[in-house]
Symmetry: C2
DNA sequence: CAATGTGAAAGACTTCACAGCC
DNA sequence: GGCTGTGAAGTCTTTCACATTG
């Protein structure tokens, strides 16, 4: 998948409520369902069947139903799902109710693009801090946020209260940044640097490598050019990893 | 997941040479191995064992060996793999020998960042065209490339000879762009727009949704905060997609 | 009747463990 | 002795098909 390694189905010693244990592959698809539901909701659709929702999300209807069955029984037989209610339930499960504070380390082209990405806001994320080593950048603003120096990472983290870190530094500094983030108590990292990060196992690290995505496409494109085109079907992909 | 839907193991009615049939999950990891090998090569390492290479690539040694076994027998028992030779073989398989021409549609923050991304060049990709609908942008240059108008997409595609398209438009225009790309004969698309594209099955579409990646992180982060932290281990992730 | 929820079957992927080779 | 290459076992994921329910 976008795919997580060590994909233990998040078993859990239940505390107050239910101990769900949602399979990782399902978790990776939930955001897609949420987006599909939002889209339907914007178009004034109140109720949707697994078939229609599956189309909108680009998955198989049986898969959608199985995925949702891990969250609970939120549909009505013979009718379908209430768009508003299902959206609420998935949102709650996935933590979209919360407004997650995000820090971006490395304000290059990509970091800047992410900082300005309006889409994040609509999905429950707020960029609360920007950090770089380039002193020419430190002190300047992007969208009203002042760029801090990486040497002050610890303080910046504390002051901003960020819970999720995005690494958009060059590959050689990524591991050092990761180590410091972990030392400061961050447990969720999205890594855009083209390097494998190692972190303690209680830290969740996801990697997005844009060059890698192109290379996977190139593999398939080459096969097509070579005229090895399939005995059976193929194609249409999801996530980055994905899940998937 | 990175993950590809309809993950048929790319069976193929072999023509001249061998009809490989490399599993999609393996294909998704090959670029990572290639990067690891380049890194080792830069450090002057000539020979590497599956254990060390697996560490560098962030996978299990057995998995690495099984993956490589799909390409052929390129190692030496009791010794390991020649870095240079293995790099050559994977590069050939994955199409990194070629210099792939890429077109970017949608020159917003993200599109601009990708256009300037130096990493692409080192991985065998060259951005040969930029396209947008905003007439204020059309005619301006980024890194020596003139931005063309989207109305001229067909001509721009022909003139540039692009084989891979990257969509960084807003979600509402993405499907229309996709349709036109397909009509012009493009069969490999990387989609950054937050929408599911539908395309004929001979077209390979990969999706990278940055908001979605954050949402998956948020899910795990929430669980940690809720104190449901695992009966068994978890964590350390790969790709984007990728899924998975 | 229509559409969900779910056991059970099929399939894909990962990991183990060891035979075979250098 | 050390390390690759690989059948076989184990695990996770997807899909099928149908009993169940509003």
């Amino acid at each position: 998948m976008s795919p997580v390694e060590g994909a233990t189905p998040v078993a859990a010693a239940g505390a107050t409520a239910v101990a769900k244990g949602i399979p990782e592959a399902t978790v990776a698809r939930l955001p897609g369902y949420l987006r599909a539901l939002n889209h339907l909701s914007d178009n004034g659709v109140a109720t949707v069947s697994s078939g229609d929702l599956a189309d909108e999300a680009g998955v198989n209807p049986a898969q959608l139903r199985k995925d949702l069955s891990h969250l609970g029984s939120y549909g009505t037989r013979g009718v379908g799902y209430s768009v508003a209610y299902l959206r609420f339930q998935i949102g709650r499960e996935i933590g979209s109710a919360v407004d997650w504070p995000v820090i971006i380390i490395g304000v290059g082209n990509l970091g800047t693009a992410l900082a300005q990405n309006a889409d994040f806001g609509s999905r429950g994320f707020r960029v609360v801090a920007l950090v770089d080593t380039n002193s020419a950048l430190v002190g300047t603003e992007i969208d009203g946020l002042t760029i801090e120096h990486q040497d002050d990472l610890r303080r910046t983290l504390r002051d901003s209260g960020a819970r999720i870190a995005v690494i958009t530094t060059p590959p050689d500094s990524a591991q050092a940044v990761c180590d410091e983030l972990v030392a400061c108590g961050i447990t969720s990292i999205l890594n855009f640097a083209a390097t494998v990060l190692s972190a303690p196992h209680e830290v969740t690290v996801r990697k997005v490598d844009l060059g890698q995505e192109l290379q996977i496409l190139a593999y398939h494109e080459q096969r097509k050019l070579d005229g090895l085109w399939p005995a059976d079907d193929d194609v249409v992909a999801v996530v980055a990893g994905e899940a998937p």
